[in-house]
Subunit: 288 residues, 2 copies
């Protein structure tokens, strides 16, 4: 019986396979690997949350340009150690993994402004060449974003791995002590309804694979189902922590990556000729 | 310490919460619950694969109108018991769970036609009112689909829970013995590159939560990491198996559901006014 599965050791593939050598120079991976240093932006170590949970280590890059007050509140909670001994309390299939800081019965969190969008002024928006169902899709300084040109506003888009601030019904805006990351199809209807504060840089896999909660909205029923967060620090607090970088979304390399993603070869018999915003993930990596 | 988490027993919510009672009559769930029987289509029990795996039971609805030859081949494999003692061999984060029938060293599978799209003729396409990044988005007889009006072709869209046929590089088209379902952001670039054969009706959750494979493309490295498929039957082979139905995507109820999804209230301070194709999942349920 087992021999049948030895036979299966060369299984059928499905997409995302490396393209044939003859096409390798056009692939997104190759473009990323050969992009010049000038096409990469440094990520501030003070903007990286290093989360050590019972499921593994997850790195979250914060986006102070988009939600400055929420990001400041989150960093304060991290520095106070409030996420240490926190818990992952909710895993909803095709939606989110959500976690919370250790509640502090002595401090009542201050209300924060609704940083759900911001003025475009002062930022440089690079439009995506492809249509979007929700708004004008594009990129700002290394982030997947969208724009309302008439209103003059921009915001971070909700895609796989986006990190946002949990909140209750309006007028609540969340206080940064409860965060979530998207583990399903990009819920873009949350755009401009939530303070988006960042994205997962690494380590989402074991968290996206956590058991789904059985209560409404995927909350875990019993306290012992909750996943422990051992410790959260900023990368700036950890001596020798690796530096990270993100591709400059205004660079020619990023435009070429997106063109390659929209026109895949090798496995593909019919390139799409387009790609939606959430598919156009911004390359990030430890500084090589 | 534990008391802090008792405090947290009423956690912050995040979207998808039931809307306030005053708005309940406009919510998608309410529209679905009150849709007249005439707005539902029966699902043929011969089109439902009942998969019992080590992770749980998963129901897959097959779509013979879109990939008749592949679906026929899959049903034959099911009737021959070839998926019994099969294996889930691949789990790639934000992409797919893939499984395979027990290989049969005595039978060489016949090549199948590339059923990646089909003529629109004979089908009724209901356009989505919202823009799409890839093509013209819409619905056909209970399925999320897309259209190229100029070419006169239609196809099933790749969304969370879509089931397709694994294949090797072209000209291979797959033989139906290796299938996958999407567990991440809808990879619409696979549209028209794969024989899409159906969607998961129920039970995707424990499968989407399986550990990610550590080999290239998320394949499991060791044979003992593979997840056993105990038995696969068609619902038509199981006496008394519950009947299922899907909402008629040409019905007024489905149009109302989509409008409600595009204009969410309650938790939302700013309805999107739009929704992408993969967000407009077709309601399915056991016949009440």
């Amino acid at each position: 019986m087992r021999r049948w599965f030895a036979f299966a050791a060369a299984p059928l593939l499905l997409a995302q396979a490396p393209p044939p050598a003859s096409l390798a120079n056009t692939s997104a991976d190759q473009i990323i690997a050969s992009a010049p240093a000038a096409h990469w932006l440094a990520i501030d170590p003070d903007d990286i949350m290093v989360m050590d949970t019972a499921a593994g280590q997850m790195l979250v890059q914060l986006a102070p340009a988009f939600a400055p007050t929420h990001v400041q509140a989150i960093k304060r909670l991290v520095r106070e150690g409030r996420f240490d001994d926190g818990r992952i309390v909710r895993v909803q299939d095709n939606y989110v993994v959500q976690w919370m800081a250790r509640p502090d019965p002595l401090s009542k969190p201050a209300p924060l402004p609704a940083e759900y969008e911001r003025p475009e002024a002062g930022l440089s928006f690079t439009p995506s060449p492809y249509a979007d169902s929700y708004a004008e899709a594009g990129f700002i300084a290394g982030w997947q974003a969208a724009r309302d040109a008439k209103a003059g506003t921009v915001w971070l888009a909700h895609c796989y791995g986006t990190v946002g601030v949990g909140r209750e019904n309006p007028p609540d805006t969340g206080d940064g002590s409860e965060l979530y990351t998207v583990i399903g199809h990009g819920p873009r209807h949350l755009d401009r309804n939530i303070a988006n504060v960042g994205r997962v840089l690494a380590g989402i896999e074991p968290h996206a694979a956590l058991p789904r909660g059985t209560e409404a909205l995927g909350f875990y029923k019993a306290e012992n189902q909750r996943v422990k967060i051992n410790r959260v620090r900023l990368a700036s607090q950890i001596p020798g922590f690796p530096r990270w970088q993100m591709m400059d979304t205004a660079s020619a390399s990023f435009a070429a990556v997106n063109k390659a993603r929209a026109n895949r070869t090798g496995f593909f018999v019919r390139p799409a000729g387009a790609a939606d915003l959430c598919t156009l993930k911004v390359p990030t990596r430890p500084v090589p």
